[in-house]
Subunit: 267 residues, 2 copies
């Protein structure tokens, strides 16, 4: 049985562009149903779910600037309030997951994560590993966290996933996003853009030129940085698969090991 | 400036005997107001708040028996659901604390706590210490946690408090309860029961006989076990003060260092 981390983008399960925090309940329920179908046939699967913050995080963070550190007393309140909001979103996510028969337990990463100048420095994962081995499906999520240099920075789901994958020896990270994968150029601007089925050391150099800019997955630093990160993870023996969670059945397919959808990034 | 852990009993901030989880909002608001008054005059204070579960925990735990371990698949769901409920209570508690100007940030202890046969075995506290030094007031709470022997057991606020006090070198734990302190006998049964102002090595042996049974604070094992535990903590140089949070102004007084109220347990 593979050990899988399923990262669900905040832009998929929330209405990301809303001014106020808003869940995209339709998407959340569809995805939870597919995870439930997988889980109920694979109860011994080792599975960790990580979700992004979407409209529960980005707006408040940009408004309060806490991702660049805490400089004022009032930012301490913003820090606390931002954490509260993430717990609120996670309560909704875990409720829907539990309704689908998944023993989905909230795990707040900022309870033990220590950042160092915006990078995750260390995070004890003994409890997470124990919970997982017990049969629990730990559900982590993007959080504001203690930073030993600038006091506060953002620990995103995209950083938690590879950290745990390495630490707990996972085989694969599935990124459930709002795009079909990685394209040769920006598919929203270039009608000739083609989905890249596999990226590895052999073709990475060649396709590098096309995937500049932020053409797809909503990640700071754009798509090239994202793919470069996934290549680094692949180097540690952890495969990534980027799929669109908006296509019916895709999440279940990916969990079942179907590598014909989306983009695979491997060594 | 003293380093204080304020433990608020679940029986104070919830309606403990209700069938369904219910917050005692009046008590919660009164206590939060007093903490806010203290915090706003002592912004450099090192303060950790820990609250109990009350009706958010006891009913579901007894119904599902998860405090005695996880034996069935359905108990995995109970485990996850119990954690969700604790996060729900904590969201309400931190909201009211933030409304009173306190940078009260949720910290889910089960994200990193590892239990061993119903006792806390280890819990990384680097992030908690960092948050506290940054000016955040970490808010922890009783949780169901991974147990390396029986898979799941309950990590109560009463166990988190001394663990953190020792690890982070705190001076005092204030127990905000629904009784005035520790009495010479059960005050609900014996009209001659007298409040004990101070308990230490000199008088502990003598008063031991009176405080048997579960006459006051709602703790498994009764009052004697509770006081014995507090004596052990006192031995490590950590003073305890047991006060009634139901008496107007008591929480603020205790935070301000007034030791004339309640019972002091010291070396």
């Amino acid at each position: 049985m593979e050990r899988i981390i399923l990262k669900i983008g905040g832009s998929v399960i929330t209405k990301k562009e809303e001014e106020v925090p808003a869940v995209n309940m339709e998407n959340l329920q569809k995805i939870a149903k597919q995870i439930g179908e997988f889980y109920n046939l694979n109860k011994t699967a080792k599975l960790i779910i990580i979700h992004g913050a979407g409209s529960y995080g980005h707006q408040i963070v940009h408004k309060t600037d806490i991702h660049n550190g805490v400089k004022t007393k009032s930012q301490l309140i913003d820090f606390a309030q931002t954490q509260r909001l993430q717990n609120e979103l996670d309560l909704i996510a875990t409720e829907v997951l539990i309704e689908n028969g998944i023993p989905a337990m909230p795990v707040q990463a900022s309870a033990m994560a220590v950042m160092k100048n915006k990078k995750l420095s260390r995070m004890d994962a003994d409890a997470i590993e124990g919970l997982m081995n017990t049969g629990i499906v730990p559900v982590l999520y993007g959080v504001p966290a203690f930073d030993e240099v600038i006091k506060c920075s953002i620990l995103s789901g995209d950083e938690i996933a590879p950290y745990l994958a390495k630490k707990l020896k996972f085989d694969k990270i599935i990124h459930a996003t709002n795009v079909n994968g990685i394209f040769t150029s920006n598919p929203f601007e270039d009608e000739k853009a083609k989905l890249i089925k596999k990226i590895n050391k052999t073709n990475f150099g060649k396709i590098k030129k096309g995937i500049t800019g932020s053409n797809t997955v909503d990640v700071t630093g754009g798509m090239l940085r994202k793919v470069t990160e996934l290549m680094e993870i692949a180097d540690c023996g952890i495969k990534s698969q980027i799929i669109s969670a908006l296509v019916e059945g895709n999440v279940k397919k990916a969990l079942d090991g179907d590598e014909s959808i989306g983009t695979i990034v491997e060594r």
